[in-house]
Symmetry: C2
Subunit: 357 residues, 2 copies
Amino acid sequence: MRKYNFFAGPSTLPVEVLEELKENMVDYKGMGMSLIETSHRSKEYDEVHNDAVGLVKELLGLPDNYKVIFLGGGATLQFTMVPSNLMIGSRTADYTLTGSWAKKAYDDAAKLGNAVVAYDGKENKYTELPSNVSLSEDSSYLHITSNETIGGLQWKNFPDTGDVPLVADMSSDILSRPLPVEKFGMIYAGAQKNLGPAGATLAIIRDDLLERSSDDLTAYLNYSIHADKNSLYNTPPVFSIYAVMLVLKRLKALGGLDVVEKMNREKADLIYNVIDSSKGFYKCPVQRENRSLMNIVFTMENEDFEKDFVSKASAIGMVGLKGHRSVGGCRASVYNSMPIEGAKALADFMKDFAAGK
Amino acid sequence: MRKYNFFAGPSTLPVEVLEELKENMVDYKGMGMSLIETSHRSKEYDEVHNDAVGLVKELLGLPDNYKVIFLGGGATLQFTMVPSNLMIGSRTADYTLTGSWAKKAYDDAAKLGNAVVAYDGKENKYTELPSNVSLSEDSSYLHITSNETIGGLQWKNFPDTGDVPLVADMSSDILSRPLPVEKFGMIYAGAQKNLGPAGATLAIIRDDLLERSSDDLTAYLNYSIHADKNSLYNTPPVFSIYAVMLVLKRLKALGGLDVVEKMNREKADLIYNVIDSSKGFYKCPVQRENRSLMNIVFTMENEDFEKDFVSKASAIGMVGLKGHRSVGGCRASVYNSMPIEGAKALADFMKDFAAGK
């Protein structure tokens, strides 16, 4: 029986995509070999690669002055590459500290330039997001983490930054909703939550920011090289990009990001509604306006209840509900590829579990 | 019909490995989901990950003071990471220029410190390798490229470097032969030639060199962080590491690297013998002692012959025989996973083709 997989990443994939990967694993569309064996410069891979790039552009409605590239190393490598490429002049950049991932991005930036804390959610224990952010004079960019996987909070409106480019780590909510893309100078995301399997990282960069990449940068770290070579400067993570392409094709077939957002809201509402009507049995620490539609975190009155919950859920086929080891509690990750039936099953189980205590 | 795939990378994989990947793509060993959907901290992935690490150690007979890590970004990212981590003191390091890949490694190092050209094969058009190399005073390491995929030449004996660590890019011949591992301070390799599909990079580093990683390095670029966290500091390229593990298991089952080398020699000999007995119809530009067992390059008297050769071979199911676009000619890549039948089929075709001209 297929399980409902609430892992925060790597995370559930559409079963149709897995079936198609399986179908083509040994012999890709009758070419007599697997796609993962063919040259990354073959016409078969070229088509997959360009389809993946094209679907990102189409789904997000990207204007022509944005480039789409695929890299390796996860979002973590982007914590290095963003400041390495985009810090200019006094090398000052603003960072919002909204949780664990934002902090990691900031820590790396602080090693490469003058990273300024534009907002720190420490006082509210990272359960709120600011309504706006004031920027440093001479700021090269403002960095935000659009969704915090561990804390379960998500930006709903993005800060106005005027001429200062807005850069967002969207690893855990990319393509989960329509975006005002023109507000962003750069968006990046590890694939393994909403896009596909681990191994590929998506980066979307506005042309004027590509001009910031200095010739002093080594090759792999230079965005402008990857953009010029259509992400084929070196061998890309072929399998992951292929799987991402299949996931994106499905999002398009579903009707695009408006439909996807509606589905995500419906799934998240099912679970938040149980939390909110549980008379305090379940508690979500995140301020209501900033609750994530992707990662729903909740606690119970004691750890034994939480352990029991995770274990009983797992026994009936719902896995990955343990909160991140750094914060404890429970967490249900309901990314794009989680079917509504999974969210319903979890909501029902949560009601039953609370009633039985 | 399954083709014989002579691509230089990504390259052919054992069909048994592809079958196993297929078998487990939707439901990994009955766990109710794919391995690529599960958390990288799950017990199922943990086993795969540690098996991959353990098999590298076992196959190479690594002493305990070497760490095995898996990264993303390909060998190209290592061109940045090697000097970033290993250059110390005056930041001087020696590089041997033996072809296109070595040159790329050098170019990046020259941006990060004092990279010294310890050998340049330019005069012999990169068709020979030096018997020994003299090192700079205060050298942090000597870098070599153990096999040049494009030029088709391979180090057979490795230079003596005394106390200076020897660092090798073995992307195109890793695990193709037994190695005197104690001679090396570090070995790295992109997966997509001898190890598995693109997306993972293997790095093997001696403990004392891990101590060189400065705290000033950003997280992803720091070898010591990856080694401390057993390559789980961030989400690793799960699918590629899984496939690498399956390839390594097969190498072990074949009998280990002595057997693998014997098979590789047999395959390469079949093809070199046709070249050498063709009375000049086929020419291999590489000095005999340094001919690669992995990438066999050859030319014919004119380009039309070469085009005809590649096209006729392709028509009967042998693909990927075109030389790299930067050098032209033909190239047969016969990595570990190329079956002997493929090398035989190619050798026979080469004889027929020459006879028909």
